[in-house]
């Protein structure tokens, strides 16, 4: 299932079958929404309108390296060990 690959989730056959059917849920939600989502209506991404929320370029104390690596499944030489990466950087 292409979407599962995009979402990086390994699904079983049974899960794929079930979920493929449920994508129809989306279709009906879309149909519903399209009834009123006409071109003249602007989209709202943020419930509360604010702008220019910025911070000063002042450093803060970083996390101690030990804390950063504490939860790592595979910490090596102060870095995160990750398995072989096949794909090229985008």
């Amino acid at each position: 299932m292409r979407v599962a690959a995009l979402a990086r989730i390994e699904l079983t056959e049974a899960e794929i079958d079930r979920l493929a059917g449920e994508l129809d849920v989306i279709a009906s939600a879309v149909a519903r929404v399209s009834e009123v989502a006409t071109p003249d209506v602007p989209a709202t991404s943020h419930p509360v309108p604010m702008s220019n929320v910025m911070r000063d370029d002042v450093p803060v104390t970083p996390l101690p390296v030990a804390d950063v690596l504490a939860a790592a499944p595979d910490a090596r030489d102060g870095q995160f060990g990750v398995p072989q990466i096949l794909e090229e950087d985008a």
Partner: protein, 496 residues
């Protein structure tokens, strides 16, 4: 090994079109969306906060200084600064991406619709249209580690350091660059170099390509003629120097031409430049490569730059390289050719002039004798152990008649050898021009006495023969005579 055709053949058959994406790392003190400090090097993973590590629950906040730098870059490139600019999520999975999405900008970039007039080596100006400049964050650094041969579970793996994750980047995207023809490779390199110069003048980044502060991805496509629609393009990454850019573009043109001329089609793909072999190779073709599922970043509010702020930034922009070159040329009274000649030593000449030398003399020394020395040593002009002030002192000594050009070169050798300022070298080596006629006349009389037949010829009207006498006098005075003066004195001595 790819098939290629001759470059001349390629550009004769096709019209190359370029697209260049440049990423510049901003030299801010902290990251784009959090306060983790930014610095070069350092212990891995020592400069992250929960935000730059993408920990669950973390939230971004925009760095005002990064926005200011982005706006200044946009202004320097003649762009319109957006009335309202938004961040967007670019979603894809990669281990160096803590959130597995990059907070970037999509359809509301901070700047758009600019241009850059790029000056090529021969002085030709080429205009590159700039589509947009936007802000985004850098990813961490992967270091690939090969597997141990011989071990059963010889797993290749990578080590990830997130210090760089979240560093502010500005990405500058050109419109398709058309009309460069056979000069496309040169244009590409010159464009990136010009951008680099601008970043430095603006002081928004250290802008060192070799440190990755400036990165370029080059898109190349070919079409049968300028009237034809655009061809399929490839994107080449990993070009880490201006020279590489030029070589990579040239290579891609020849490779694509070979493909097209043999009846094939160019594959739209990302390619990787190999510096050692001078070739590009294909990257992995990804089925979901283009589906980044962009949507507006819900955790950040739009940036609505105050117009007064923008005008203030515009007013405070430093003189950009092109404008500076025009001004200097006018001030110095150089011809276009002379200006081009001076291009490689501009700052040094400026400083030498500031120290009192005439522009022409300054240019002559830096682009002449000093360039020759630098070349022979395999060094840059800046690396030579002589300062603009010292060059100005040298010029002053020549102007005052205390040194001839020839003697000046010897003095320069002394300065380069670390013997001190020109005046010191002159004193130590005793290289002063003999300007006192007395000793000169003595030497001249000796030479006249020793060369009666030449004297005969001179008296008989063969004035050119004076040259031989002059030469002997120069030898006798170990070159410390002013040849012109010697010649005058001989003539008056002989009554001719």
């Amino acid at each position: 090994m790819n098939d290629v055709v001759d470059y001349e053949e390629a550009v004769a058959a096709f019209d190359p079109v370029l697209g260049i994406e440049v990423h510049v790392e901003l030299g801010t003190r902290t990251k784009m969306f959090d306060g983790a400090p930014v610095a070069f090097g350092g212990e891995p993973n020592s400069r992250v906060t929960p935000v730059s590590l993408g920990l669950p629950g973390s939230l971004p906040k925009v760095n005002r200084a990064a926005v200011e730098s982005a706006i200044r870059i946009g202004l320097a490139l003649g762009c319109e600064i957006a009335e309202s600019s938004r961040f967007a999520r670019k979603n894809y999975f990669y281990p160096d991406m803590p959130k597995n999405f990059q907070t970037s900008q999509y359809d509301e970039p901070i700047a758009r619709d600019g241009h850059l007039d790029v000056e090529l080596a021969d002085g030709t100006l080429f205009r590159v249209e700039i589509e947009r400049a936007h802000m985004e964050e850098d990813a961490g650094k992967n270091t690939h580690v090969g597997g141990d041969a011989g071990r059963i579970h010889s797993a290749e793996y990578s080590l990830v350091d997130y210090n760089r994750a979240g560093v502010p980047l500005v990405e500058i995207v050109t419109r398709p660059i058309t009309g460069a023809g056979a000069r496309a490779p040169e244009v590409a390199a010159a464009y990136v170099q010009t951008l680099r110069d601008i970043f430095r003048v603006l002081d928004v980044s250290e802008a060192r390509m070799e440190r990755g502060n400036v990165r370029a991805d080059v898109n190349v496509s070919l079409r049968p003629s300028p009237e034809a629609p655009l061809g399929t393009r490839t994107e080449t990454k990993n070009v880490n120097s201006f020279r590489s850019i030029e070589r990579a573009v040239q290579y891609e043109i020849t490779r694509q031409a070979a493909v097209l001329l043999s009846g094939g089609t160019v594959v739209q793909e990302t390619r990787h430049w190999h510096e050692e072999t001078g070739e590009t190779s294909p990257g992995r073709v990804k089925s979901d490569a283009e589906d980044y599922r962009y949507f507006p970043e819900p955790d950040l509010m739009p940036i609505v730059p105050d117009r007064a702020w923008i005008e203030e930034l515009r007013a405070r922009l430093p003189e950009l390289p092109a404008a500076r070159r025009r001004r200097l040329q006018a001030e110095w009274g150089f011809s276009d050719l002379e200006m081009r000649d001076a291009a490689g030593a501009l700052d040094l000449i400026v400083e030498t002039v500031a120290a009192g030398a005439a522009p022409a003399a300054a240019r002559k020394w830096w682009t002449g004798e000093l360039a020759r020395v630098a070349n022979s040593r395999g060094a840059t002009l800046e690396e030579l152990p002589v300062t603009p002030v010292q060059v100005a002192q040298l010029v002053a000594l020549v102007d005052a008649g205390e040194l001839t050009e020839r003697l000046a070169r010897q003095v320069l050798d002394g300065v380069l050898a670390g013997e001190g300022d020109p005046a010191d070298v002159l004193a130590t080596r005793g290289l002063r021009v003999v300007s006192d006629d007395g000793p000169l006349l003595a030497a001249i009389d000796d030479v006249i006495a020793a060369n009666p037949d030449i004297v005969e010829r001179i008296r008989a009207g063969r004035v050119q023969a004076t040259g031989a006498l002059v030469g002997s006098v120069m030898k006798a005075t170990r070159g410390q005579a002013d040849a012109g003066r010697v010649k005058e004195l001989i003539a008056s001595r002989l009554g001719v």
